[in-house]
Symmetry: C2
Subunit: 340 residues, 2 copies
Amino acid sequence: MAQKIKLSTIADALGVSTATVSLALRDSALVASTTRERIKTHAREIGYIYNRRAASLRTSRSGIVGVVVHDIMNPFFAEILRSIETELDRSRQTFILSNHYDDLEKQRNFVDTLLQLGADGVIMSPAIGTPPEDIRMAEDNGLPAVLIARDVEGAAVPAFRGDDSYGTALATRHLIELGHTRIAMVGGTDGTSTGRDRYQGYKNAMEAAGLSVDAAWRIPGPRTKQAGFDATERFLSLPGKPTAAVCWNDLSAIGLMNGLFRAGLVAGRDVSVIGYDDLEEAAIATPALTTVWNGQREVGHRAASALVARLNGEEVSAEQELIHPELRIRASTGKPHERN
Amino acid sequence: MAQKIKLSTIADALGVSTATVSLALRDSALVASTTRERIKTHAREIGYIYNRRAASLRTSRSGIVGVVVHDIMNPFFAEILRSIETELDRSRQTFILSNHYDDLEKQRNFVDTLLQLGADGVIMSPAIGTPPEDIRMAEDNGLPAVLIARDVEGAAVPAFRGDDSYGTALATRHLIELGHTRIAMVGGTDGTSTGRDRYQGYKNAMEAAGLSVDAAWRIPGPRTKQAGFDATERFLSLPGKPTAAVCWNDLSAIGLMNGLFRAGLVAGRDVSVIGYDDLEEAAIATPALTTVWNGQREVGHRAASALVARLNGEEVSAEQELIHPELRIRASTGKPHERN
DNA sequence: CTGAAAGCGCTTACAG
DNA sequence: CTGAAAGCGCTTACAG
């Protein structure tokens, strides 16, 4: 490993001060352009590596942004992350990622790490049960936060998410318009704002159509393909045999469709299945999945922009418009079909 | 934002030196246990936040490990990342993730960022075309590297991956044993060691069985669901109408199965389709996908352990055993069926 | 346009 | 067992 090269190495070699080198490398107009070029060329030639820790210690800006979500392996978050990445790349911020798996302790550890590293900000999809104090604590220690996908009441920071109640109502209404009257809701939880909103949207649409809502038709839980797959049996033996399922998300819907297929049933023909999110793979699923576009890219883009704005000292209102979901009709929903 | 609390704040309040506080907080036996407890309690009470930048500047260890892969959104890498995460959590390393999307410049930028942050090491699945010098450069600047999934000839660092040639031969042989003689290869590239090895394994198995290999039966490229889906038409119009497809990975296989389904064909009955990787979703795909287990968790686990070992000053040989793939027979393969 | 000097908040010999 | 002091490698007033 070569001898450590620092600013003073360059300064000594070129007979200038470290102040001049520091300014030159950052393209300051304070340095004469000839000097600047001479310095930059030399730095490149000897392979100088800028020490961000030292700089950050001095300036107290680190160029690091933290992003914490439930699970980056989940394509829903992965799609959001992709657009966050695009946005942060643009403002040359490095981002550190973490899963919290809805474990508050893991989330706290991560926020702690960010504070220790002097991160500039954090984008989080808060773990279930996150108290507003956890977010205030970050803010109070100089770590501005922006929320995605879920809100935390009382946190008073900007949150970017879709209008879940409206979106699930859209999905439910689509099934009702096809003629379904017995509609199940598969997946989700009351532990998050999102979960409560989606169930509410489903109930609203049912009641608005004069249909009764049977609490037994709710199968809470599933949020993954595997869980949707595993819920198939329970769905098929539900009282009153619902003819359609509003699923928590595309993953659980695809899992359910796969499960139905194993049982000899085809979604869209024997049972209507509707998802939520409109993941990239929804369109190529078998059969193509009817779903509700949830604006992942939009969420990521807006959240990252808002955080960058906050980093630049701009005020960003904690009141943010919900993103407007849209129905995407494909092949997994159709007229009701009675099973026996 | 509260007044900045540092070691000296605590030292002053308790009438001890910063050295003692520093040692106490790190549980040094050099500090009397009563003093230690007094310090730790006080630190917690006033909400002290450890400044890792300052510490790292002094010790030149940062507790940061970089991980760069083609695309974290790809479940293949996501599964590897999950086991890397488990391993790094154990040794309390923070990890920074990045996609390179096979863009050498993006990969270089990331390595640069790691160097600037004083990262302790990097785990990388090198971008296509990565020259060994890129890896030497990192190593020479004190950033030990460990490779996953792909190797870089001449890099002389440990690389953890499966025996691709053997694995694809397994897959191909399985089809041959079922009676297939015209077998296509869908997806992959010659740009990586993995790509070359897999094509070689396919050819080996075909030739060993006395079957001819038609270059036209190779459809290079697809590595995603969408691409596998899009390749369906080409596959169906291949000269000599192959009855089976060895796919690059599970994603392209699932995409192809979905495409076949749209064309009214069912994998395992009309066409045999075999994947590679054995992703979590392979078992619940429709139909359940026959594939080759590629040891993602094993790769992640071994790579992270090896890096941690290197960080602790242990020697890790650049010669690493290949992970032994295993066949997983499910429903997407069967006896040959002639189409017309 | 350039330089000398202080300081960011830690840790680590060294002395006692 | 504890303290005084130097130093990690930058940046930023300040002076010239």
